[in-house]
Amino acid sequence: MSESIGQDKKRFVIPIGPQHPALKEPGHFDFTVDGEIVTGATVRLGYAHRGIEKAVESRNWTQSLYLLERICGICSHVHAMTYALGVEKLAGVEVTPRAQAIRVLVAELERVHSHMLWLGVAAHEAGFDTLFMFSWRDRETVMDLLESFTGNRVNYSANTLGGVKCDVTPEITTAILKGVDFLEERSQHYLKVVTTDEVFLQRTRGVGTMTKEQAELLGVVGPTARASGVTRDIRVEAPYSAYVDFPVQTVIAEAGDLEARFVVRIKELFESYRLIREILSKLPEGELQVRMPRKVKAGETISRVEAPRGEAFYFIKSNGSDNPERVKVRTPTLCNMGSVVATAVGHQLADMPMILAGIDPCFSCNDRAVTIRDTSGTRYTWEELRRYSIDFYARR
């Protein structure tokens, strides 16, 4: 038994996952190595498929919002926002500018917390635990701000269909401005560390380099693409919500290596701080919510939002009832996963955790459905499939 595990004499495979200290969520990577050099890489996803898309179909429009928010624990607001924007578009509801601005405010605070989290995780993968601990300590500032603003640390539930729940008060404005000042100072420090620490640069400069051509070919999104010089940012290309009134600058870097990804993400933090301050100073007056019909008229739409990791994509179809007929979610990690396999070959085994972390993977979010290639060509309907699974487990 033990002889057969990954050994067919010619190939020496290092299995990373589904359970491995480098992975905080289940995913599986097989790295074929020749000594320390990686000669081949494969990825297998789908360990954390939770059937959320299907579950949404049996819930009404409002319930689905809270379920979809739980797709991701880090960019939860983004999922709720993408869905809400899509449903509002379908229903033809116009949300007030104030509510839109608050949505963007929370989205940017969330981006700050997500990028700080990534900074720590990526540093940990390289074995730089001091940076990990420090960045996570400072991240608590923005977590506290989100908690005092929305009432929750993780799944904020700031969105409702037709608006937002929480309002910006003078107290919270002061707290956020103070927190952002502190974080900006810290971010300056981290930018200095990741661009000047010689030992750390040995692990990031020129490692996992992805050229602009490769990035475009692989269709990567978000900061991973922007670090390779691809100007791809939904906030700029197709402004949604309050990004129309509060435009952002795209941060790009040309190098395409891990250092560039560090630089892009930290510089995006500064852009977020600027945007947060601007929104707080020019917050439009108005109602927080508008009335939303219980049933959404039939039709279909797509909705795109720039999550901290890249483009979150929703396809929403309504048949005119009070339940969604179909919601299809595609998260940025899925788009970026190909770049891991493409850039891994030729690097050292020691670089693998960092190259993997470089795309800021979020496995549970991207595990939507598993395609089973059935050569017999059998096609099941949903009911048949349900029957089949009940029989399958009864037989065991």
Binding site: S2, I5, I14, A22, A123, M133, V199, P353
Partner: protein, 307 residues
């Protein structure tokens, strides 16, 4: 009487129990200080002891692949190696238990037993993490061992003796850290390599190869390897303090000087990123070995001038 003394020396002081407890305290100090510098709380004072008690009480699972007898004996040999080295060192600020001309070489080689056993232990299984870990452990051993040995022999050359006691007597009258600063730095960094401390923890990089060579170890075997490492920390610090910090003359002297060195190790651990194994080899052979050879040259020339 003689047997009683030997037993005392082997089991209570300086070998055995004393080094064990001392090692656990230093291990705790190391972890606690790193934690505080990283803005964490860190472990409680009895944490290493609690870990050992727990591990020793646990079932030891011997993998089906590899040689089972070797699997069980390797941690014992590793610990025995370190414990033997301790007998020739001025642990606790007192005279070494045993001393003979050339004991320095024996000590330094006994200190390498732990790494060697770790490497063989990793190679003795079919686990891919262990195999990669073993390769890295042994690669690292071959990269730091020669410069470390040369750095340790630097004071010996200056003193003109291979006996630890003589070298320490010489070091008490001569500021070796000023005469051989390069040797001091190389020896300190070599000690970090021996103990697989960051930035030289590529052999056990948990984000790549889980626990490296010791991935398959659990329970007693793992505990013995850990105890060996704790004892090696004490032995290494003592040797460094005796040679480079002007010798060890009293228990207080011992505590102060070894803790000072530990503080230096903590600082480096906190500031550094883990190096890749190719970078480690490059660092040692491109800079470490050459610098320590240059140091030797200077020492010999100086000695020639003085005499």
């Amino acid at each position: 009487m003689n047997i009683l003394r030997t037993l005392l020396v082997l089991l209570i002081f300086p070998g055995g129990l004393f080094v064990l407890l001392n090692g656990m305290i230093y291990e705790w100090a190391d972890r606690k200080l790193v934690a505080r510098l990283q803005n964490r709380i860190g472990p409680r004072w009895f944490q290493p002891l609690a870990d050992m008690v727990k591990l020793l009480a646990k079932e030891e699972i011997v993998p089906a692949s590899g040689n089972g007898r070797l699997f069980i004996w390797l941690p014992i040999v590793a610990l025995a190696g370190v414990m033997t080295a301790v007998l020739y060192l001025p642990i606790g600020g007192l005279q070494p238990a045993f001393s003979f001309p050339g004991d320095l070489i024996v000590t330094v080689y006994m200190l390498s037993m732990l790494t060697l056993c770790t490497g063989i232990a990793g190679a003795n299984t079919n686990d891919h993490f262990s195999l990669v870990g073993a390769t890295r452990t042994l690669t690292q051993l071959f990269s730091y061992e020669a410069p470390f040995l040369l750095a340790m022999l630097g004071p010996a050359v200056a003193a003109g003796s291979w006996q630890i006691n003589d070298i320490m007597a010489y070091a008490s009258n001569h500021p070796i850290i000023l005469l051989q600063p390069v040797g001091f730095v190389i020896a300190l960094i070599g000690l970090m390599g021996k103990l697989e401390m960051r930035p030289f923890d590529a052999p056990e990089a948990e984000t790549e190869i889980v626990a490296g060579a010791l991935t398959e170890y659990s329970g007693r075997g793992l505990a013995l390897f850990y105890i060996g490492r704790y004892a090696e920390l004490v032995a290494g610090l003592t040797l460094m303090a005796a040679f480079y910090l002007g010798g060890i003359h009293s228990p207080i002297d011992y505590v102060l000087k070894t803790l000072l060195l530990l503080l230096a190790l903590v600082g480096v651990q906190t500031l550094m990123t883990r190096l890749r194994i190719d970078q480690v080899v490059g660092l040692w052979w491109r800079y470490g070995a050459l610098l320590v050879l240059a140091q030797w040259f200077v020492t010999i020339v100086l000695k020639g001038i003085v005499v």
